[in-house]
C-alpha cells in the first residue's frame, strides 16, 4: 500500500510543482518506488519541470476515460529508476477527473508504488480537492508573504474537512514547506519569520525551508528537479525535507544570514 502525499498551497506560483518534483525525486533516490501525478489538468507543467515534456503521449485523463492503460501513460524518469510521472492532460478541463476515475487510478498505483505524490493545482476548487482527497499526508507550500500564508490557511481548512481521511473522522498529517525564504530580509524584519508562519499563524509543523536560490530557475530551465543540483542550497534543503519526512533528524540550514566564512553557512542552525 502506497503512502499518498499531496503537495498543495492554495496560491499559485509558490513552488508546488518544484516541490513535488524534488520531493518525489528524493524519495525515489532513496530507493522508494515513487510516482508523481500532475493534477493540474489544462495547465500541466510537471512534465516541463521533470524534463519529460516530449515523451507525453497519454495522460491521466486518458487513463480515466479508458483511452490508455495506466502503464502506457506512466513516464519513467530518465535519470532515476523507481521514479515515474503521470502527466496531466493539456486539452481537457478539470471536470475530466471524475471521483471514481481518480480513485481507481490511485488504487492501481497504490498496489505498485511506495509513494504517490500528488501535485495539486492552485486554488481551492475541484482540481485541488480531487488532488488532496486521497492524501495520507500533505506538504503545504508557502512563501513568506501574507497572501500566500493566508491562502495556505484556507487550504489547510479544506484539507481537514474535504479529504477522505477527514470524512472518516481521521486527519491528514500536515507538514509546512516554506519556499523562497531570504534570511537577510527576515533578519531585517522585511519578511515574515519562519516561526511566525509555522507556529503563530498556520500552526503546522515545519518540515523544510527552501532558500531563495538561483539554482531553482536554472533547474527548471533545464528540466531537472533542483534536488539533483546537489551543490545548491535549494537542492540540499529539499534533500533535508525528504530526510525529515522519513524521520531522519536534520538541522536546519540556510535560514540564518550567512556568516563570513563557509563554516557558518554549512552549520547554520535554528
Amino acid at each position: 500500500m502506497a503512502k499518498i502525499v499531496v503537495v498543495t498551497s492554495g496560491k499559485g506560483g509558490v513552488g508546488k510543482t518544484t516541490t513535488s518534483a524534488s520531493f518525489a525525486t528524493g524519495l525515489a533516490k532513496r530507493g522508494f518506488k515513487t510516482v508523481v501525478i500532475d493534477f493540474d489538468v489544462g495547465l500541466r507543467n510537471l512534465d516541463l519541470i521533470m524534463g519529460c515534456e516530449n515523451r507525453v503521449v497519454y495522460d491521466f485523463v486518458d487513463v480515466i476515460t479508458g483511452q490508455a492503460r495506466l502503464s502506457q501513460a506512466l513516464i519513467k524518469d530518465r535519470a532515476i529508476d523507481n521514479l515515474f510521472i503521470l502527466p496531466a492532460s493539456q486539452t481537457k478541463d478539470k471536470d475530466a477527473l471524475s471521483d471514481e476515475g481518480v480513485a481507481s487510478v490511485i488504487e492501481q498505483l497504490s498496489a505498485e508504488f511506495d509513494y504517490i505524490v500528488c501535485d495539486s493545482p492552485a486554488g481551492i476548487e475541484r482540481g485541488a480537492i480531487v488532488a488532496m482527497y486521497h492524501a495520507d499526508e500533505a506538504l503545504i507550500v508557502t512563501n513568506p508573504e501574507i497572501s500566500s500564508v493566508r491562502d495556505s490557511d484556507r487550504i489547510i481548512g479544506v484539507l481537514q474537512s474535504r479529504s477522505k481521511r477527514a470524512e472518516n473522522g481521521d486527519s491528514v498529517r500536515e507538514h509546512l514547506v516554506i519556499t523562497r525564504f531570504n534570511p537577510q530580509r527576515a533578519e531585517n524584519k522585511e519578511m515574515l519569520s519562519i516561526d511566525m508562519i509555522s507556529k503563530d499563524i498556520l500552526k503546522v509543523p515545519l518540515i523544510g525551508v527552501i532558500p531563495e536560490c538561483q539554482s531553482v530557475l536554472e533547474a527548471s530551465n533545464r528540466g531537472i528537479p533542483v534536488i539533483n543540483y546537489e551543490q545548491s542550497e535549494a537542492g540540499q534543503a529539499y534533500d533535508d525535507v525528504v530526510a525529515r519526512f522519513l524521520n531522519e533528524e536534520r538541522p536546519y540550514r540556510f535560514i540564518d544570514v550567512k556568516k563570513k566564512g563557509w563554516f557558518g553557512r554549512i552549520f547554520g542552525d535554528q
Partner: protein
C-alpha cells in the same frame, strides 16, 4: 581560452556549454508551438491523436515499443513546419531472421 570540463569532453574546443536560459527558450518554443496551432494545420487535439496513432502503427510492426521510448516534437523553422519523432526500439531478443 580555457573550456569547462563538459566542453573538453563533448564539445571540442570552441563550444561552450549552452546557457540554461537558451535551453529554456528552446524547450518553450517547442512546447508552446505544439500547444498553439501548428500553422493552422494541426490542432493540439489532433497532434495528440496523431501521436497515439503513430505509436499504434509502430507497435503493429515492432514488438515491445513503450510510450516512454517515444519522443515527439513539433516545431517550426524559418520556412518549414517540422514533426520530429524518435522511437528507441527495444533490445532485439527474438528476431527470427537475422
Amino acid at each position: 581560452m580555457s573550456n569547462g570540463f563538459f566542453a573538453s569532453l563533448f564539445g571540442g574546443s570552441a563550444k561552450k556549454q549552452e546557457s540554461s536560459a537558451n535551453i529554456a527558450a528552446d524547450r518553450l518554443r517547442v512546447i508552446v508551438q505544439s500547444d498553439h496551432r501548428l500553422s493552422r494545420r494541426l490542432t493540439i487535439e489532433n497532434i495528440d491523436k496523431m501521436k497515439r496513432e503513430i505509436l499504434a502503427v509502430v507497435n503493429r510492426y515492432v514488438n515491445g515499443v513503450n510510450v516512454e521510448d517515444v519522443d515527439i516534437k513539433q516545431r517550426s523553422d524559418a520556412n518549414a513546419d517540422i514533426l520530429e519523432m524518435n522511437v528507441n526500439l527495444p533490445d532485439d531478443h527474438s528476431t527470427p531472421h537475422r
